[in-house]
Symmetry: C2
Subunit: 192 residues, 2 copies
């Protein structure tokens, strides 16, 4: 059931732990959550995403997360659970969004088109199906940005080329975990 013609290698995900809001709407920095690494890596691998960047300006957090990554990439975890190794092979740590863009330029030869999505998006947004068409239409790399905490700060949203429509359920409740939002967006892009 491999679908030919689906080009996702040039689509990457970044999960931001700074430039995000806290519960009171203040721009803040969050801690890396171990479950985010696992869940988003597994979803990224399932849907053929090129790279999953975990972004935090806090060096100690990158050091700690680096140990976790190595456990699954090349340590005991990689032997114990080969499918987890496969997922973690996509994961990389960066200090800020600029470093992510630099890495993508090295990999793909040009700057990515930045896509943001979030429960709080206002203004003109478009559906996942349109993004899929844009990805298929050209040779541009794409970077899907997700925020931890209470979502991406305005300063990051302003850097985006595309605003995706927020994921809504059946009512007004919009407190999906970021892990679920990533899974749902990837499925809306490529999941059938």
């Amino acid at each position: 059931m491999i679908r030919q013609g689906v080009r996702n290698e040039n689509v990457c995900i970044a999960l931001l732990h700074s430039h995000v809001y806290d519960r009171k709407g203040r721009v803040s920095v969050t801690s890396i959550a171990n479950m985010d690494i696992h869940d988003i890596a597994r979803c990224a691998r399932t849907y053929g995403v090129g790279r999953f960047y975990i972004v935090t300006p806090i060096e100690e957090q990158r050091i700690l997360a680096g140990k976790i990554l190595r456990h699954w990439q090349s340590g005991y975890g990689s032997v114990h659970n080969p499918s987890r190794k496969e997922a973690f092979s996509l994961v990389d740590l960066k200090g800020d969004l600029g470093e992510v863009v630099e890495d993508m330029v090295l990999r793909f030869g040009k700057e990515p088109r930045i896509v943001v999505t979030g429960a709080r998006m206002a203004g003109k947004t478009f559906p996942a199906a349109s993004l899929r068409e844009k990805i298929l239409a050209g040779s541009d790399p794409f970077l899907l940005l997700f925020g931890t905490g209470w979502g991406l700060a305005e300063e990051v949203v302003e850097r985006a080329h595309y605003l995706l429509e927020p994921i809504r359920g059946t009512g007004e409740y919009n407190h999906l975990p970021v892990r679920a939002a990533v899974a749902i967006l990837l499925d809306r892009l490529w999941g059938r």
Copy 2:
């Protein structure tokens, strides 16, 4: 953006911690993972699901999980984070699938139609869109069963009335977290 006419109150989710496979294909019992409670409760609330049952035969696990539930349902967590309280109001603990069915009979006046989904499904399966039609068409309650570990054991799959097609990405890798599988299935059912 409330969608009228969507009837999900009669659809419930159960997450099984027994009658599931371990990595070696043996039927086994798993531990409750705190993140499963949070993520699935939030997704259930987002998509208007009636009830989320956490099922384990181990009493000590139910006692521990019960403390976590009360923290968010009525303890400090419910004040600190009202949206989490709203999600946790859907969560209930049961000892086995029979207790879940009993509770649904009390709530809905008849036994639920049981739906299973999983990466390993074989045989005749049907897509989420067909399930949505079946839910809308009648007055039956539905129970969506999910397995922890390496998925639902055959003995549970045999009790199901409907097999949903497995969630596939773009290739052969099929190791989604159960949290992601729930999010994706709910979105496929009601998410647009």
